[in-house]
Amino acid sequence: MLKLIQNEWMKLWTKKGTWIMTLLLIVLVIGLMGLTKWINSQNTTEPTDWKANVQEQLKYTNEALQLDLPESERKQTEETIKILEYRLAHDIPPLAEDSRESLIINPVAIGSLVVLLTVIVAAGIVASEFSQGTIKMLLTRPVKRWKIMTSKYITVLLFGILLMFIGFIVTIACAYILFPAGGGQELKWDGNAVVSLSVWGHGLYMLILSFANVIITATFAFMIGSVFRSNGMAIGLSLFIFFTGNTIVLLLAKYEIVKYLVFTHMDLTVYENGYPFIEGMTITFSLTVLAVYLVIFLVISYMVFTKRDITA
């Protein structure tokens, strides 16, 4: 199996396109960081006192609490209040917006970029064997088809992970070069008390959460690519889903079924950054739904691939 993965890895990186994609990722991340820097430099407003800010925020949040909020939102608002009060009591400023820490702690843009690029690889890894005609060379070896399929899937995942890491490292490098270190501390309510968050740990955690999106979208592209043997169709459909997912969720938000749609759960970072789309969902539930979809996608891919007669 290791040798098969080695083969797929070799084929992947002998293609120029792969290098171009990786380069593109690096350029885009640098570009995004540069853009952030530029926007920040345009904002030449006087540095405000963070305590005043926090107090104002606290006031708004307390007002919000008076409204008729659903249970989960109420809980979250209460947590926010606890954190804000803790800041004032212990004199801990929040992370400054233009500090390097605030960029490292929330690297979600990488996730979206990596989705786009990984989908291209996932869509092509099976489909291109068919379009090049090499599938008949590949499948006349003494290796069972499911092993070949597995090596290809693992290669896609490895590629995604690699891109995530490259993206993260470039982000860190840019953060250190372009942005000043800021004071402050990110805080979190852990259920019993307010605790401080490690910048690195939380950054990595966000990266992993956004990787769920990469996995599910890439697996979908992998399935379409192996069922329809068409590279373009797989890329097109996957990106369509990736971009229109949120809209579909909003359209169907009233109905129960939305809870079981894959789109609702693709972005797990909402559990850290804000409110989930749908009332009362937990990350465990989201992970379960994602896992079910993942298994369905993979079963379809494997079934079709191992049963198919190669006539091309």
């Binding site: 003494p142 069972k144 190669i310």
Partner: protein, 307 residues
């Protein structure tokens, strides 16, 4: 034959939709023998070959490789088989060498030295590190042969192997197949539409038509002696010779007679005695094409040639 066959097809059948593409084909292939696989287009050559190499599933019947059913020992079975299915499509964006490394990794125990050895055997040393996209069709054929030979297969399946080779290349290829068949005891199964090619290369031919195996014969059997007679009136001569028990066939001009050399003088005497004018008598070699037409009933041969 008491030698154990390397490959046996037993009542192999393939049904697609309602159509029987391959109908009850049984065939044994022996070590050291080159077997040609002939048939008009759409007769089922490629389908048969694809079932033998695991690209297509069979509907019923069994394929035994070295005595073991392929369906139960897929990996073990195929590790004894070298395949070129139609044009060898390699990874064009990689070098020839990387392509070979790729296929070597999918077999057990293939060393770097073995790869180099095969590259030398097919004469690609000069260009092996260049991208396959820069190769000519003939060079790709050589690379295709190289990947099929990497793991020293006991059984070699070739579908239209000489497609795109120049005459010298075809000749070299033919001799090469002979060598590995004779010295290494490899059993070779070649499908081709080039009948003259098959004739020069094979010990044995199997003819398939409409999914059925219609004939299997040794090439030595086909070396019967025939004579071409140009004479007039042909009809009288034909009925006369037939009545004397000779096998006669009429051509547009003249007749083809199946007879031994020592019978010819008496044939001529018989003809002249019956006032038939004989203009020419010459040995006639029946080509495989003639036989092929005989077996398949003709008609489709033009199609098979222009494939």
């Amino acid at each position: 034959m008491d030698i154990k066959p390397i490959v046996e097809l037993q009542n192999l059948t393939k049904v697609i939709g309602k159509k029987k593409i391959i109908d009850d084909v049984s065939l044994s292939l022996y070590p050291g023998q080159i077997t040609g696989f002939l048939g008009p287009n759409g007769a089922g050559k490629t389908t048969t070959i694809r079932m033998m190499v695991g690209l297509m599933k069979r509907t019923s019947g069994e394929i035994l490789i070295d005595g073991k059913p392929l369906s139960e020992n897929f990996e073990e079975g195929l590790s004894k088989v070298g395949v070129i299915v139609e044009n060898p499509e390699m990874y064009k964006f990689m070098s020839g060498y990387k392509n070979l490394v790729h296929f070597a990794r999918m077999q057990k125990n293939i060393t770097k030295e073995r790869i180099d050895e095969v590259v030398r055997q097919v004469g690609l040393e000069q260009r092996i590190n260049e991208k396959v996209s820069t190769y000519s069709l003939g060079m790709r054929q050589r690379l295709g042969l190289a990947q099929a030979l990497l793991h020293r297969p006991k059984f070699l399946i070739l579908d239209e192997p000489t497609n795109g080779l120049d005459p010298a290349g075809i000749r070299e290829f033919r001799q090469y197949l002979r060598v590995i068949a004779e010295t290494e005891g490899v059993s070779v199964f070649v499908s081709s539409h080039m009948l003259s090619e098959i004739e020069l290369m094979c010990d044995r031919i199997a003819v398939i038509q409409n999914g059925r195996l219609v004939d299997i014969r040794d090439m030595s059997e086909t070396a019967q002696s025939h004579y071409y007679l140009e004479l007039s009136p042909a009809e009288t001569a034909q009925s006369l010779l037939t009545s004397k028990g000779y096998a006669v066939e009429s051509l547009p001009v003249g007749l083809v007679l199946q007879a031994e050399k020592n019978q010819i003088p008496s044939v001529i005497q018989l003809l002249t005695a019956n006032r038939i004018e004989v203009f020419a008598v010459q040995p006639h070699r029946k080509t495989l094409e003639d036989q092929f037409l005989e077996i398949t009933g003709g008609g489709q041969i033009a199609e098979a040639h222009t494939k």
